[in-house]
Amino acid sequence: MDEEKRQEVESGKTTTVDARGRACPQPVIMAKQALEENERIKVLVDNAPAVENIRRLAVKTACGFAVEEKEGGFWEIVLTRTGPIEARSGDSASAGPGNELLSCAADGDQRNVALVVALSDDHMGRGDDTLGNILIRSFVHTLLELKPRPATVICYNAGVKLALKDSPALDDLQALEKSGTEILVCGTCANYFGVTDQVAVGHISNMYDIVETLAGAGRVVRP
């Protein structure tokens, strides 16, 4: 930040947004709101992901961006815009407050971001089912190496076959369950395939649980 800008900031022409102590995605949302009403804002944040998210906001909205790390473990960011912010964000396909700006999960801080794995088939990918079956087995096995482990694994449609007593992926799903991952098996699907009595891991679940789990997930991975 050059001296001239610093003086302006300190002379009180700049609206200050204190987003310290706020969890992602609050800082970037607060910054964006303030930026809609002011041409120049100062944002205070206390974590690196927030700095990165606001840097991305600046790039997307073509705002000037200057950041300075301060004593006491926080950053001071100055954003300046030249035109209306609406015109720029409005012509993208995004809905809501710039969803693509937010990467709360991707910036190294993954706590409290529930990962849900949706196993919707007993194959991974399309093209060849024999290969696809090898891949899904490898996929489920490798889930055990993830840290943190998925919060929930949902098996639905042909994915329920992975949870049956003769499934080659059964021991991996059981190991996941033992380590704290919740395994939901679609009851309608098991019934449809006539295999309800063969489900050997997790618990038989219904669409209410499945919808709530998917909707409440931080991230959903569907192989």
Binding site: I134, S138, H141
Partner: protein, 80 residues
């Protein structure tokens, strides 16, 4: 079939098809096994391998010999 803590070895194959053929043979012979991704520390062109227990190693080698080619065998440390 929760695996007890034990020593495992993996059989490595030149291709996925080889691994699949071997798996069919093991299945038919009733030998407990698991098809898993090749561990990171082992390099192999084919991404999957067959994991069996150390005790089964001679039996498996005997079963596969002459029926399917394998590239090698490697011990596997299990993280439980």
């Amino acid at each position: 079939m929760a695996q007890e803590r034990s020593d495992f070895v993996v059989f490595l194959f030149p291709s996925v098809s080889h691994a699949l053929t071997a798996e069919k043979l093991l299945k038919a012979a009733g030998i407990t096994h698991k098809l898993i991704p090749v561990p990171r520390h082992i390099s192999s062109d084919c991404g999957v391998c067959l994991r069996i227990t150390e005790e089964q190693r001679p039996t498996v080698a005997e079963l596969l010999r002459g029926r399917v080619t394998w590239e090698g065998e490697a011990p596997l440390e299990v993280q439980v």
